[in-house]
């Protein structure tokens, strides 16, 4: 594998781009690994990397039933932010954001992390007060880049929004996180895969886990479409498919439901929107940014009913289009290029799990709702720490499955125990 450097890029340019090698190997699965991660999404790949880098684990495999990054990793709207206010969440996501800031260097791979600001629109004096409370909490707890903008400032910075005073929900200001932004999701998957592979991790694609072999309270082996593989420790990082793996392991219910979320991209346009803009008001939810290729990338709410199908329904297409028109009417004649859906692991309180399980050597990474892209570096970092040390670090102490039994819900929205209401 060739390292990327200015010199290398120049040299390959002069010599016809003929000298690049594979970015990661395509190994046959071995019969045993010390750690097997199920799921070659962002979290499985990042965990493999940090297990090797931070903890010196040598024998690691990532098993992916399709191709790496083919799940939610390659389907999300790529928003990265750390504007959380619940204890636990805010430290975790702030850690993730600081890891994002160095990620391209860390992986020797350009993940195109663009800290272009995340702008959440506010539509009432009450909403401005609530946002001020939240963003002050952020400033007091280690996230310095939280700001409230008034209408004048917002109009200067983002001129194309619908500022009509007669709008159903007139825009009155915005809550802004300036270090937030977007990254290129595929590059994050490929960057972690390449960096993990370089350190000896076996990334095995087209390898579906089909069964879990147990001896009492331990997993002994995984049955896969490419044969039986024994494991010292196993980590599940399969997002929307968590309950299916949980079933294979013979475990009971989980505080998770699988729902689908759609995303959309338009035909490429000249530069139009420099930031991530979010609109959330009553029943409407909409977020939008512009990719480096020029496509407007946007999304809205879940499809509202539980589903394992990676395809979206039409009423939500209409919903999202209506929200787009009310926030950025200038998009009215822009053509939609593609839209798709991903199956997301919605949790009971909207917060994730990085935790031990009822089985001694099984660890769980799940419950990311539709916010697990931004979590990738920290999720990998702390899941690796958990697997390597066999105990949760204080940072992830409350991200366990038992928190509801302790009466704790880490519920940013205050929506209650209904997975489809979180975001």
């Amino acid at each position: 594998m060739t390292r990327f450097s200015a010199w290398n890029v120049l040299w390959q340019g002069i010599t016809g781009q003929k000298g690049w090698t594979r970015q990661w190997r395509d190994p046959e699965p071995k019969s045993h690994y010390d750690v097997i991660l199920v799921g070659g999404g962002l979290h499985g790949l990042a965990t493999a990397y940090y297990l090797s880098k931070n903890h010196g684990v040598r024998s690691i495999a990532v098993l992916e039933k399709g191709w790496i990054g083919g799940g939610n990793a390659g389907r999300n709207t790529t928003i990265v932010r750390s504007n959380y206010t619940r204890p636990g969440n805010r430290e975790f996501y702030e850690h993730s954001l600081t890891l994002w800031e160095e990620l391209s260097h860390e992986l020797n791979y350009n993940v195109m992390f663009s800290q272009r600001s995340h702008i959440a629109l506010l539509h009432s004096p009450g909403a401005i007060d609530a946002a001020a409370r939240g963003y002050n909490t952020m400033r007091l707890t280690g996230t310095p880049d939280a700001e409230i903008w008034d209408l004048d400032r917002l109009q200067q910075e983002v001129p194309h929004l619908n500022y009509a005073s007669g709008a159903r929900f007139p825009i009155m200001g915005a809550a802004v996180q300036k270090r937030a932004g977007t990254a290129r999701h595929d590059a994050v998957a490929w960057g972690y895969a390449r960096a993990a592979d370089t350190r000896g991790v076996d990334i095995i694609q087209n390898c579906a886990v089909t069964g879990v072999e147990r001896n009492g309270g331990r997993i002994t082996a995984l049955e896969t479409s490419r044969g039986r593989i024994t494991a010292g420790k196993v980590g599940f990082a399969v997002a929307g498919n968590t309950s299916r793996l949980w079933n294979m392991a013979g475990l009971g219910g989980l505080p998770i439901e699988s729902h689908k979320l759609q995303a959309f991209v338009s035909e490429p346009l000249k530069p139009l929107l420099d930031q991530v803009v979010v609109f959330g008001m009553g029943g409407a939810h909409f977020y939008i940014s512009q990719s480096d290729k020029g496509g407007m990338v946007f999304g809205g709410d879940l499809d509202w009913y539980k589903s394992y199908a990676q395809r979206g329904n039409l009423p939500i297409v209409q919903d999202v289009a209506e929200a787009a028109m009310s926030v950025m009417p200038c998009l009215g004649r822009v053509k939609l290029l593609r839209h798709w859906a991903g199956v997301v692991d919605m949790s009971m309180d909207g917060t994730h799990f990085i935790c031990k399980t009822p089985l001694d050597n099984l660890y769980l990474n799940a419950g990311w709702n539709y916010g697990g892209f931004k979590a990738t570096p920290a999720a990998g970092w702390w899941f690796a720490d958990l697997i390597a040390n066999g105990r949760p670090a204080p940072m992830i102490g409350n991200f366990d499955l038992k928190r509801f039994e302790r009466g704790l819900q880490i519920d940013e929205r205050g929506a209650g125990a209904d997975p489809k209401l979180h975001g």
């Binding site: 498919n241 968590t242 309950s243 299916r244 009971g252 219910g253 989980l254 505080p255 998770i256 439901e257 699988s258 509202w304 009913y305 539980k306 589903s307 394992y308 199908a309 329904n313 039409l314 009423p315 009971m348 509801f404 039994e405 125990a417 209904d418 997975p419 489809k420």
Partner: protein, 94 residues
């Protein structure tokens, strides 16, 4: 698009309905141990395949319905009133 055949109103677009959730949950008695309530409120089988779920016909008769649906193919196997007793009363009145 999913079509749900409401036993009261006939076949309708799913956009007229609001999804409730897992319809197989049995809520424990009010004085049951906390653990039973925890399990009913917080744990889900999250079935991939045929499951029983609740929907409300919010833009129609507003009745709660029990729907048996495949969560992978979205095929609907049956739709029945969630409260058969109430349905019988309404029918008798009509």
């Amino acid at each position: 698009m999913i079509w749900i055949t409401c036993p009261f109103c006939g076949p309708r677009d799913h956009a007229e309905f609001s999804y409730g959730g897992d319809g197989s949950i049995q809520y424990p008695a009010l004085d049951a141990p906390v653990q039973d309530w925890h399990d009913a409120v917080f744990l889900r089988a999250n079935i991939c395949g045929v499951q029983t779920e609740t929907w409300q016909h919010v833009h129609g008769c507003r009745m709660w319905l029990k729907v048996v649906r495949d969560t992978m193919t979205h095929e609907i196997h049956s739709v029945t009133p969630a409260h058969p007793g109430l349905a019988a009363v309404l029918e008798a009145e009509a």
